[in-house]
Symmetry: C2
Subunit: 259 residues, 2 copies
Amino acid sequence: MLTGREFCVTRIEKTNTSASLPQKCQHCTMRHAGLCATLTAPEMVQFNAMSHTKHFSAGQLIRLEGEPVSFYANVISGAAKTIKSTHDGRQQIVGLILPGDFIDRVFVEHAPCSVEAMSDMELCAYPRGRFEAIVKKDPDLEHRLLTLALDDLDQAEEWMLLLGRKTAREKVASFLLLLARRSHHFSCPHLVSERQAFAGPLTIHIPMTRNNMADYLGLTTETVCRQMTSLRKDGVIDLPDNHCFTCPDIERLEQEADR
Amino acid sequence: MLTGREFCVTRIEKTNTSASLPQKCQHCTMRHAGLCATLTAPEMVQFNAMSHTKHFSAGQLIRLEGEPVSFYANVISGAAKTIKSTHDGRQQIVGLILPGDFIDRVFVEHAPCSVEAMSDMELCAYPRGRFEAIVKKDPDLEHRLLTLALDDLDQAEEWMLLLGRKTAREKVASFLLLLARRSHHFSCPHLVSERQAFAGPLTIHIPMTRNNMADYLGLTTETVCRQMTSLRKDGVIDLPDNHCFTCPDIERLEQEADR
DNA sequence: CCGGAGCACTGATCTGGATCAGAATGGCAG
DNA sequence: CTGCCATTCTGATCCAGATCAGTGCTCCGG
């Protein structure tokens, strides 16, 4: 079995062989493999030199809101959430962090949100000081970081539409679609055509509990459950087990998600 | 009366005399006066050289989603909204653009959202090509733009908590609080203490219709109206007329907004 | 002056999703 | 194996906010 470090390096090398990869997919508006995909060979060497693998187990806190940030990291495996909460305890997940994503905002002294692992995670971590030193000397790299931040903003705005205006069923469908697109990406970004990869009903892992889904969608656990069974009964998805689903017809799911 | 151009220049000069202003207020997490506040004297000269005033009237479209971007701009007066909508017409305002804000994301070829004026507006516009050329040659300026994008992301995440987890009353209160903080900023950023400035019940302008408020808060017009009258009856705010309010006790309003 | 359009507001009713309650399942420790 | 706990799921009920319907106000053009 590979260690996280090896895996990370492998990915960087692979993505760099296939010349200038676009940062965004024209079909799904998702970014591909985050920062790593944009690194040049010399940058890659620098980052690898200072990287080390970190592990977190499900439920563990990676960052606490307001605490000083000590490292940045690429997610190798697992999933995390960034949380905001009202003072009386209602909470809203404001960001999903999946394999290929970067934690967290560059040049922000203190963490703007808490980050918590939703499953066991493997990170490729970079010490904050050394990471920022490299970025400061490389305007082009900073430009790419700016672009990534703008992509995050895009996604946040898309999610505001979901939270403010979509029904429970549309919310759940949109979420499953997001997972489908993200899982697909990370496994084979740009190597096969979108449609081809979506053709077969591939199995998609849901790396979190129904409760976390609810907190991400602005719903309750019960409502998420009901919508999941409703989508299953209507043949939109299959649910072989609690943490997996397959989708026989992605276009149908897109329709359910509305946008 | 001043023209927009004169006003914009005046502000730039004023903010630059008072040495390195912080970009964020420690009390309210809002950014102050956007890009302008961070410009150095030589940058200011460059920007002024290529700026020209643009006017838009209420309801006019400033950007159409997906269309190529031809200019960036600082807002001098008035208010605009950025919109996302489902394919069946439900719409959600994902961003408020108020005086001091910057339109729009740098280095994004095509507009990610439509932008529409909600009142008559005066902009200080910069042609896209020339603006980007300046930024590309100035890594430090790009760094500041990155920081602004991250601030926008912060605000978007705060709004996700509101959309997903707050009640109608809390939503309306949060919105009024946002307006109060923003109006106050633009008039006197960092020149007086927050508390002092908030002490008197200053009158705050609401630069949009109830319908736009609803689209920003993920509610209906009717619910916004009801919550406004409810807050008035409970003495949280006064409503001298439809597009103004005063707040006798900001802390009370903060409590109603929950966070 | 009137008439019409747009906006703010209010009352009555309806309903999607929250809340409450409990059953079924599965994983794990002993 | 048994017992415990966390999680998923389902049913019954409730209620915040949507929907529907109508009033009053202001602005504006003729």
